[in-house]
Symmetry: C2
Subunit: 171 residues, 2 copies
Amino acid sequence: MKKGYIQVYTGNGKGKTTAALGITLRSLCAGNKVFFGQFMKGQDYSELKAPTYFKNLTMEQFGNPAFINGKPSQDDIDRARKGLERMKEVLESAEYDMVVFDEINTTLFFHLLEVEDVMAVLDLKPEKTEVILTGRYAPQEIIDRADLVTEMKEIKHYYNAGVEARLGIEN
Amino acid sequence: MKKGYIQVYTGNGKGKTTAALGITLRSLCAGNKVFFGQFMKGQDYSELKAPTYFKNLTMEQFGNPAFINGKPSQDDIDRARKGLERMKEVLESAEYDMVVFDEINTTLFFHLLEVEDVMAVLDLKPEKTEVILTGRYAPQEIIDRADLVTEMKEIKHYYNAGVEARLGIEN
């Protein structure tokens, strides 16, 4: 039986969620079934249309339409917890070859979730399932637990030159 | 009119081609037209099936089925040059919203192409087109030219623990 690993994409550079989308695309093209959960996000990203192209892909968002600015609200915390509950069901179902926890590291950084609770859900990962964790500020516990960790490091970014997020590129 | 930028994904970590695939998926979901050219690669990657899901996506490979091991052959050089010619046509056609030069940095590292020739092709980029360049060892000229540069840094990799490349994950 195939063995799935835990991959982490962290760091301050661009390409973390994007890499998760890329590995999702590759997995779908190989005929696999993928669940893509987006924590912290409730905005209308282009990628949310991806399931219309792939029947094997499920995408769900667990965040607010607005970004967290300053102190997270109780609603932010409740949504993250509900999201984690949902991810627990997803892993327990053992239905998916790949499960993405997009921005999970960021929920930990903002204390929306506790790292022990996330680790307890990761314990439920079926042997075959590949798990992808994204978001800057991955805590040491997550890094220790992962099989593969890539840090995306910003060398140069046009945001610094005043470019706004663009449809089909950043969202 | 929208403005396209030049993005570079480089470094020794996993996720460069994967990020290029992810941004391709996002762009396609936004209704854009994408050309994805793979230098150095001729292997049967899962992602080559992606155009069967998206009519707006063209993927072409410009490499040999075998990886370069040691000194590149004349055939490796010829294929890379043909690939660059093709990318020139692609940019000149002004047909695409996004054009990916996958592993272009690696062709420069192996001296399959000269950096001046690649820069001359990048000069043909239509204003609207987003260009994505991937591969480790991006030379300084490419970094200087790019609007956004992300370095993928390997923090931990299961290859080091003896895991082989897997279908739908690495290929």
